[in-house]
């Protein structure tokens, strides 16, 4: 009995020591952009905050609303927007990664059904240590006020 409790103590201790990266990542203001009813693609945006003192990488995202989910970024090459898949999204130690229109995003490819406003899509985010986190993400109509400011040519 005594040996068993020692074992339990050891187990719970190791649990604390090896807490997964997912435990240190807090997701702020996530949303899926409401797309036209016949759109084959959409995107999810969010701010990922890393409370730990080591770098964490988001390596995979998954969701049941689309057939495929990929991590993407946009490169603005003299006004030409080049969308590219990225292997991971780095969340710096004690820092954040911002997924926002015109930049990093989680891309939803081949929608299984049209999205509706207010619908909640459960996303599974997987990190570089294999730990993962579920996030409930609401489908929202895009507000032009939240758009990036830029000059006019």
């Amino acid at each position: 009995m005594k040996r068993l409790s020692v074992l339990f103590a050891a187990l719970s201790l190791s649990g604390a020591v090896f807490a997964g990266a997912a435990d240190f990542v807090v997701v702020h203001e996530p949303y899926v952009r409401l797309a036209p009813p016949n759109a084959q693609a959409s995107a999810a945006f969010m701010v990922l905050k890393n409370g730990s003192d080591r770098e964490i990488k988001l390596v995979k995202a998954d969701n049941p609303a689309s057939k495929f989910t990929e991590l993407h970024t946009h490169i603005n090459d003299n006004g030409v927007m080049r969308m590219r898949q990225v292997p991971d999204i780095v969340i710096p130690a004690k820092g954040e990664a911002m997924l926002k229109p015109g930049g990093l995003h989680v891309m939803l490819i081949n929608m299984k059904a049209p999205l509706s406003e207010g619908q909640v899509v459960p996303f599974t985010l997987t990190f570089d240590d294999g730990s993962s986190k579920q996030v409930e993400v609401k489908v929202m109509k895009m507000m032009p006020a939240a758009m990036p400011m830029k000059h006019v040519h």
């Binding site: 952009r33 036209p36 759109a39 084959q40 946009h74 927007m81 969308m83 895009m142 830029k150 006019v152």
Partner: protein, 200 residues
């Protein structure tokens, strides 16, 4: 004492002059061009879900051309949301003198019917257009629009299309007047629409 001070001052001055002569190279940059040159632009005849559309039949209206594709998850919806938000601010009289076209740079996947449903989500007045790949390429060339398919970039039957994300304002006389960068805020788009309605 004062002599040594004077020598010191002179030495500093001399080294300053030599230093300036050696290291000061004023940059002779040319003054920035006052007006950025616009591509030639011009008319088009493309297909909408409601039949062929010629830009020449919109003489007397201000036209906005935006190039994109319906598989685009972010850039095109942002452009169309901004255009829709600006259009929502227009008076009915102003709306009558405005035409907004979304021209597909993905003619392989975007059918006229598909484009109609897609663009009307942003504003019922936006007209979705497509054509043969050759027609789209020729038009894009005249408006300085770059686009290229990136087949290996996406999963499934998806592929991304790199493309210029600017919008083009065409005057009532069919002349290309201005280019609006991606990310221009709706209030600025609205101001530009009104400005060019008055002057063109």
């Amino acid at each position: 004492m004062s002599n040594r001070f004077l020598v010191g001052v002179i030495a500093v001055l001399i080294s300053l002059i030599i230093g300036l002569g050696l290291f000061w190279k004023p940059e002779l940059t040319p003054p920035p061009a006052a007006v950025s040159t616009l591509p030639p632009g011009g008319d088009f005849l493309l297909q909408s879900a409601d039949g062929p559309v010629a830009l020449s039949s919109y003489r007397g209206s201000l036209s906005i051309l935006n190039f994109g594709y319906s598989y685009c998850p972010d850039i095109c919806p942002t452009n169309l949301t901004v255009l829709g938000a600006a259009m929502a601010q227009l008076e009915p009289e102003e709306r009558k003198k405005l035409a907004v076209f979304f021209i597909s740079v993905d003619p392989r996947r975007d059918t006229p019917e598909h484009l109609k449903t897609y663009v009307q989500f942003f504003d019922p007045q936006i007209i979705g257009l497509t054509g043969t790949p050759a027609e789209i390429a020729e038009l894009a060339g005249r408006y300085g629009v770059y686009y290229a398919e990136q087949p290996a970039e996406m999963a499934g039957d998806g592929y991304a299309v790199d493309h210029s994300a600017d919008s083009y304002i065409v005057g009532a006389d069919g002349r290309l007047l201005a280019r609006m960068a991606h990310g221009t805020p709706p209030e600025q788009v609205l101001a530009l629409i009104r400005q060019y309605m008055q002057t063109s």
